[in-house]
Amino acid sequence: MTRDDNPFAPLQREAGAGEKITRKSLTAWQDIRYRLKGNKLAMFGFWVIIVVVALAILVPWLSVHDHYSNDLVNKNKAPTWGHWFGTDDLGRDMLVRTMMGARISLFVGVMAAIIDFFIGIIYGAIMGYFGGKVDEIMNRLSEILYAIPYLLVVILLLVVMEPSLTTIIVAMSITGWINMAWIVRGQIISLKNQEYALASQVLGAGHMRIMFRHLIPNAMGPIIVTVTLSVPSAIFTEAFLSFLGLGVQSPVASWGTMISDSIGAMTIFPWRLFFPAFFLCLTMFAFNVFGDGLRDAFDPKLKK
């Protein structure tokens, strides 16, 4: 009996089989992009965001109508070829107004992201990096700010300022970044004792360099997820305040004011409510699912 006939003989082991790379090696970012692309819902959200941004930029620019001219002969018209989304109670074109509303919403979203990025990250990084007394004092301060609800901040500001987009953004920059600061703080605390930070310190890098070149780039995952999810909540806040009459004022078109203007007449002129409401929901949906997808993509526990 030869050895080959023996069914229990161990297989011939190829030299260096254990070293062979079976899967293409991916950098962390390639891996994240790969996983994000596999998530259909998140990609759908991503494309919806792109489309809404494109519409917001192009429609008011290309349309023959504008968002403020009254045309009282053609008021409250249902959608037609001339006005794709119909007209409102002053005969203003709803398509252009809805897209101007999209501009405002997206602008608020972008501002929220910028505030998160600049104030939140710097504040959080300083808290986490220096620790000790600095951390204690800054943390207490942020807790006090956090205890003041956003609506109260807006109302306090409205005592001093006129209701406008500026008020909303100022209020956001007072309290909107705290969540981000806490997330960054947690990340920095866990990262600052890693070897590469120590190595950089030994090589003579200053605090700023360690923080911004080494620690923050390594905390980018949670930062990006937090930013993406803070965008829909900022969009909602703007719509909410404008709805109450505490935000953007007419004739500037905001989804919130358009919704509140049309509620009284929703049984008679439903399109006036439908279009701004639909785009508000669609945008919030898109940012939420895209943010969720990003979170899953960044989570190494979900790696298949």
């Binding site: 006090i144 609800p149 609506l151 109260l152 005592v159 909410f240 919130g256 509620i263 049984t267 949906f285």
Partner: protein, 311 residues
């Protein structure tokens, strides 16, 4: 536990004091006064009015005065609605807001738990996808759209509920749903994600191995361990319900506290602005405080001294 509570309470008092002072200063440094009106008033009438509301005294004295009254629970008299004290205005409308808020919190917790548990138990199956789709919709459709939508479908078209007002108990259903949708969604997602993890834990295997019935495992072990993020979220949710109720009250014409928020600003009614701000801040801080205490009570890993072992 006592030290923990004391620390939290002192923190609340400091926050409240800062907030009240900030509001007072902000309101008083800006030009414009609540006593301005279109009608021309004679110097004497104006002086008398200012004296009546104490606006003729220097700011620091008014501040001390206000704080003194505040400590004694006196929020002052509205400057726009004649002869109405701020406490009366708040207490006559707070009942509606409170009932609506409590209904919404209970609905959110129960609804969110049911959806979340179903999703976790049937992980990656139909019920999971179903409840998570509901949750994403709940997140994407804000109350200011859900409210009119529900009103239109169930009150105007189907006629099952009254369109506005809070006269019958049935009237609470639509506003409560509009107010709770986003919280239900958040809680469902929180419960699902932690529960999926918890259900794979060793102590669940132990519970199964010792022959505990399925519903007992969910109830006694899995749910309690999954509740932690929900309890953390509670404090945040209270703020959500408070701000959300301003919109929902307006949509359903509920005579709650929300209307004062907007009207006091427009009218520059100083005492009413101060009153509503402080009142809401107190509610919010108490809510957060209760959530902090609940967190300690729910977490099976935190045992404060003297606590009994076992649920």
């Amino acid at each position: 536990m006592v030290a923990f509570v004391l620390r939290k309470v002192s923190f609340m008092v400091v926050t409240l004091f800062l907030l009240a002072s900030l509001t007072f200063v902000l309101m008083n440094v800006i030009p414009g006064s609540p006593l301005q009106s279109e009608k021309a008033t004679s110097e004497q009438v104006k002086k008398n009015l200012e004296a009546y509301y104490g606006l003729d005294k220097p700011m620091f004295e008014r501040y001390i005065n206000y704080m003194d009254n505040l400590i004694h629970g006196d929020l002052g008299v509205s400057m726009k609605k004649k002869y109405q004290t701020v406490e009366r205005m708040i207490s006559s409308s707070f009942g509606y807001s409170l009932r609506l808020g409590l209904a919404s919190i209970v609905t959110s917790v129960i609804g969110g738990c049911v959806l979340g548990i179903l999703a976790a138990l049937y992980h990656r199956r139909f019920l999971d996808h179903f409840s998570m789709t509901l949750a994403v919709i709940g997140l994407a459709v804000p109350s200011l759209i859900l409210g009119p939508l529900l009103q239109y479908i169930f009150a105007v078209k189907l006629g099952w509920f009254s369109v506005a007002g809070l006269k019958r108990p049935l009237d609470y259903i639509l506003p409560t749903i509009a107010l709770s949708a986003s919280s239900i969604a958040v809680i469902a997602r929180l419960i699902r994600s932690t529960m999926v993890e918890v259900l794979n834990g060793d102590f669940i295997k132990t519970a199964k191995a010792k022959g505990l019935a399925g519903h007992m495992i969910v109830w006694r072990h899995a749910l309690r361990n999954s509740m932690l993020p929900v309890v953390t979220y509670l404090g945040f949710m209270i703020a959500n319900v408070i701000t959300g109720s301003v919109v929902v009250e307006q949509i359903f014409a509920i005579p709650g506290l929300g209307k004062f928020f907007v009207s006091s600003i427009v009218d520059r009614d100083y005492p009413l602005i101060m009153g509503t701000t402080i009142f809401y801040a107190v509610i919010l801080l108490i809510g957060r405080f209760v959530a902090d205490i609940a967190y300690v009570l729910v977490d099976p890993r935190i045992r404060l001294k003297g606590g009994k072992a076992g649920a």
